[in-house]
């Protein structure tokens, strides 16, 4: 018998496949993504070589993950930051609760890693007010929905719907104009940054040699969230560690080009709390930026995943999102083909990190194994190979759609499936 997950999932997929708004929004997004990506990569064509070097580096780190976690944590502490290792989601939540407490205002930068924790829900349960500050995430938060793409969380929400949502927040009718709607979000969030007690972000990279957190963005919300509040908490998946600052720069170039950007407006590199020695060379922590800098290294299944050489490759994902735009299926399903992580690459991430095999099962049978994502992945992650490997585990666990199971059984009994 197939699990209930298969039926629930099928229903949600069949609901979205007929949604004309989603189709139009995605068609536009895919077309402009392809143009931008092709032009970014052809102008900076050395990035092709750089991505190969980065693959090797990430390979090495993932094979020596424990060592690198230890080294990076030590460096953060040396930089007068606080480093924590969170084996599980519960560990991470306990650590964050201890730092944030209750009755605080929290501003957040976009972080899929924080979705693993259902962080917003918990922060609110503890009595805090949370503002997502990335425009897409802000929309998603106000809709009470979840991110539908790794880079563009509100990719499936057309402007008409955003206008309706923001008009409600503004208490007046706002036009269906992206510029006007962006201006509203800017005004709405401005004082939240300034008055926030805590800023929480993810990280694109953290480097072992300098303990530097890299944050790549275009909106400027991360700059604000990491410099205005007195406390900055970074939640970083341990697979994001790179050995050196130079590797970090390489990652910035590779991920930006593959995500379709010739230049990211902002790359923040943060290596500790703000400080000054301007009065008699006495070092004081907490100048204009945060006084406290906390880095939580989240494992949550990553170490285990790294032990399996096939799955380990999935941990190299840079989150550029190219595979999703280039997938034949994702533009039709969007993030409904997903749980916390979505699309083909979301299958190993769901199975091993956020969700488990039962949740990953229907996702694994949504991939056509066509291999198009491999061609466009800067890390050349062979998602079909990974998905095939996961299907073998799912078979052992009994998480297979009935029809497919019957077909396989027919081959075993009759010699042919039909």
């Amino acid at each position: 018998m197939e699990t209930k997950e298969f039926k629930v999932y099928k229903k949600s997929i069949y609901r979205v496949v007929k949604d004309p708004f989603v189709r139009v929004a995605l068609k536009r997004a895919v077309n402009s993504f392809r143009k931008n990506r092709d032009s970014a990569i052809s102008e900076y064509d050395y990035v092709l070589e750089e991505s190969k070097k980065l693959q090797k580096t990430k390979d090495y780190v993932l094979e020596h993950l424990d060592e690198f976690v230890k080294k990076t944590m030590e460096r953060v502490e040396k930089n007068h930051g606080h480093a924590y290792y969170a084996k599980t989601v519960d560990d991470a939540l306990r650590i964050i609760k201890n730092i944030v407490g209750s009755g605080k205002t929290v501003v957040k930068g976009k972080s899929i890693t924080s979705e693993e924790l259902d962080l917003n829900k918990h922060l609110e349960e503890w009595g805090n007010t949370v503002y997502e500050t990335d425009l897409g995430e802000f929309i998603v938060q106000k809709l009470g929905s979840r991110p539908m793409h790794i880079l563009a969380p509100a990719i499936n929400v057309p402007r008409e719907k955003v206008a309706e949502l923001f008009s409600e927040l503004a208490g007046k009718k706002l036009p269906q104009d992206p510029a006007e709607l962006t201006r509203f979000a800017r005004e709405f969030l401005r004082d939240k940054f300034v008055n926030a007690d805590v800023g929480i972000t993810g990280a694109n990279v953290i480097t072992a040699d300098t303990g530097t957190v890299f944050l790549i963005e275009n909106e400027g919300n991360i700059r604000f969230s990491t410099s205005a509040p007195p406390v900055h908490i970074v939640l970083v998946g341990i697979e994001k560690i790179l050995p050196t600052l130079k590797d970090g720069m390489r990652m910035v170039e590779v991920v930006s080009r593959y995500a379709g950007y010739k230049a990211m407006a902002y790359v923040s590199m943060i290596s500790g709390p703000s400080k000054t020695g301007d009065i008699e060379k006495v070092v004081v922590y907490g100048a204009h930026g945060p006084k406290e800098f906390h880095v939580i290294f989240l494992d949550n299944g990553r170490s285990e995943a790294a032990k399996d050489p096939v799955i380990r490759k999935a941990l190299q994902c840079l989150r550029c999102g190219a595979c999703m735009y280039e997938c034949p299926v994702y533009p039709i399903t969007t993030g409904y083909w997903g749980y916390k992580y979505m699309g083909g690459i979301g299958i190993p991430w769901t199975a091993y990190i956020a969700g488990g095999f039962e949740k990953a099962a229907p996702m694994a049978f949504t991939c056509t194994l066509c291999g198009r994502c491999v061609k466009y992945c800067p890390m050349e992650i062979d998602t079909p190979e990974i998905v095939q490997h996961i299907r073998e585990i799912l078979k052992e666990k009994g998480f297979i759609p009935d029809y497919i199971k019957n077909m396989a059984e027919a081959v075993l009994k009759e010699g042919v499936p039909y």
Partner: protein, 239 residues
Amino acid sequence: MAKAVFYGCTTRSNPKLKQNLDKFLDLVGDEFVREGEDICCGAPLLLAGYKDEARKQAEKVVERFKSKGIDTLITPCPHCFTIIGKEYEHVLGVEMKGIKVEHITQFLAKSIEEGKIRLKNKVDIKVSYHDPCYIGRQGRGIYEEPRKVLSSIDGVELKETELTKDATTCCGGGGLLRAYLPKLAVEVAKEKIDSQIKPLGVGAVVSSCPFCFLNLSEGAEKSDIEVMDILDVVIKAME
């Protein structure tokens, strides 16, 4: 040593595709052992995660051919082609014992070149070609052969889509998606027809995979695009 045509379960169980293949074999006139009535290549097992069972199936298949003295297989199915020709050895660790596999488009291209197939009729159609993932990107990079076949036929005008050869977008029929979420699979095909094929102003899209044929056909139901198998076109030129 003998040559065999391996139908593949999907071609065999579709009346139109099977009839076409039989007709083509009659027209060619070569002696082929016809195989695949009662034996599957094992691809559905492998794709469903039954790796050990797929290995046993692969051994059975190799044994069957060996016992009949078959050293060359020709198949119209990209999935049979790739699992037998590539994954038996590399994924399942099954020795091929000298058996070679050809996709029908390779056989066609070679036979045309050697003059064994005579494409005597003019076939006036404007078509696009859909590259099946499992002979191309996931298979052995077979891109030129089917194009060579189509361009050898008088009257056939081939218009390429932007995303072609190793950049081809899957029709939605692969990876057992059609078995679990058939409506989604068809929607993927429909999207391909609407956004890539229709704007070319062609009358038909030709493929060389039974899954692509079935899935694209359903996806094209409400359009005026005809979905053809490459043998459809070849037979028209030969008869």
